[in-house]
């Protein structure tokens, strides 16, 4: 997991870790940061992609299943997501944000596009809320204990932060994030004024950020 999102720190860490990687062959790729692995992927090192896959495939697939409600189709999105990482890693800029933010955005957009191509309407938001607030405790054998622990911790922290949001605010950001609905579509679906949707989205993200910072969330 990436320990920090500070752009300067990330950049410095990449350089330091790259130097370490080149000078110490016995250092396992599992210990390298996402950003260093992404740089290795950009150089065409497939083992780095495999490591990133092991770290985030279950999360990416979770997002895809959440959006598509179809695991087989979501598995296709999973493959395509990491294929895009393989082909586009050079375009990733650590200064612009975390690797996971970039990775999950690719997965989300692919899943939403695939979902729309299948012309399936989103599930009603009321169904989503109640069913998706549970974490899958099934251990992933490809992940090491530290990664599994970090993933569980992240999941718990985010769910806790989301739980602090008023239902209507949470609903707006989930409709936007998981279903790719525009603000106008959300206003139409909820029957609320566009200005109200703007306010709910802004307040929801502000609250979510504050809660995650308070819990010292690390992506």
């Amino acid at each position: 997991m990436a320990p920090s999102k500070n752009a300067t720190d990330v950049s410095m860490r990449i350089n330091n870790e790259s130097n370490v990687l080149h000078s110490q062959d016995d250092m396992g790729v599992e210990q390298l940061s996402d950003e260093v692995l992404a740089a290795q992927v950009a150089r065409g090192e497939s083992h780095a992609l495999e490591t990133l896959y092991d770290r985030y495939a279950s999360t990416v697939l979770g997002i895809s299943v959440k959006i598509m409600d179809d695991q087989a189709a979501a598995e296709d999105v999973l493959q395509e997501t990491f294929w895009r990482v393989w082909r586009s890693a050079a375009s990733y800029q650590s200064q612009r944000g975390s690797f996971t933010g970039w990775l999950f955005r690719i997965a989300r957009n692919l899943a939403i596009d695939a979902y729309r191509r299948r012309n399936i309407r989103p599930r009603p938001i009321t169904d989503v809320d109640d069913n998706d607030s549970k974490i899958d405790q099934t251990p992933d054998p490809s992940m090491d204990v530290a990664e599994q622990s970090q993933l569980l911790l992240n999941n718990k922290q985010v769910l806790s932060a989301l739980a602090t949001l008023p239902r209507m605010q949470r609903q707006v950001i989930e409709m936007a994030y998981y279903y790719g609905m525009t603000r106008q579509e959300i206003a139409e679906a909820t029957g609320e004024a566009l200005g109200t949707i703007h306010t709910r989205a802004r307040l929801a993200l502000q609250k979510l950020r504050e809660e995650l910072q308070r819990d010292e969330f690390e992506d």
């Binding site: 990416v60 979770g62 294929w83 899958d136 490809s142 936007a176 609905m181 525009t182 603000r183 989205a201």
Partner: protein, 267 residues
């Protein structure tokens, strides 16, 4: 901050804007970089939403399929790199090959030209040799002819052939001629020109004069131009006479000169 942009920022962070709205926000952020940290903070919060969903274990086949695809891509990239490398080498090789080919062609053309020139020179040498041989042959023939002529000269050519100029007298001063004579011989060749045409019944008669006594050497006939060639004959050597004269005589000639003397010269 612009009210419209502020309303869009949350949905920009959620990646839920249409393209037009997205461009609007990005243009704003480009002009107002001070707003970017706010957007990045919202973006971090949005990224965390990925962890809110239950993770789902992927099928091992997904990873296998992905890595097969990656391996195939690596092989293709390797082939492409090799092709590019080979292409570059081939390109360099082609340039060298083309240069070598050009040099070879120039050398071949030059060799052909030299060979042609050499052939021409050989032909010229051969022609000159033939010419030399021919000239040598001709020279030999000439020498042989000269030798033959020299061998014949003592018998056929008089030892002292003289050419004596003949002049007309006051009667026909335009007349002139030459007498080619070996004084030891009894004959000589008289070539005369400028003599007048004679009236009918008249003829020119040639006289060899020895001490005042003319001896007829024969009758001379001239053409319409007054020219004539006459073989002078005598019973004695021409050199024994001291003058030659031509007179106008009645047709058939005279035993002694009777008419005007038109040519008279000492021998």
């Amino acid at each position: 901050m612009d009210k419209q942009i502020e309303e869009l920022l949350s949905f920009y962070a959620l990646d839920a804007l249409n393209d037009e709205e997205k461009e609007l926000v990005e243009a704003y952020l480009k002009e107002h970089p001070e707003a970017r940290p706010q957007v990045e903070e919202m973006g971090n919060a949005v990224s965390a939403l990925a962890y809110a969903v239950p993770p789902v274990d992927p099928s091992p086949r997904s990873k296998e399929a992905l890595m097969r695809r990656v391996a195939a891509d690596q092989r293709a990239a390797s082939v492409t790199r090799n092709q590019h490398s080979q292409s570059r080498e081939l390109k360099a090789g082609n340039i060298f090959q083309a240069f070598s080919m050009a040099v070879a062609i120039v050398a071949i053309v030059w060799a052909v030209i030299l060979n042609t020139q050499l052939g021409q020179l050989r032909n010229e040498v051969l022609t000159l040799r033939n010419a030399i041989v021919a000239q040598a042959s001709s020279l030999e023939q000439i020498n042989q002819s000269v030798d033959q002529i020299n061998a014949k000269l003592p018998q056929e050519i008089p030892s002292a052939v003289l050419t004596i100029s003949l002049k007309g007298t006051d009667v026909q001063p335009q007349a002139q001629g030459q007498l080619i004579v070996d004084p030891n011989s009894e004959s000589a060749v008289l070539v005369i020109a400028g003599l007048d045409q004679l009236e009918a019944g008249k003829t020119y008669q040639v006289w060899l004069i020895d001490g005042g006594t003319p001896v007829s050497a024969g009758l001379l006939t001239v053409d319409e131009n007054g020219q004539g060639v006459f073989i002078v004959t005598s019973e004695e050597a021409i050199g024994s006479f001291n003058a030659l004269g031509i007179s106008i005589e009645p047709e058939g000639g005279s035993p002694q000169p009777t008419g005007d003397i038109v040519v008279l010269s000492e021998l």
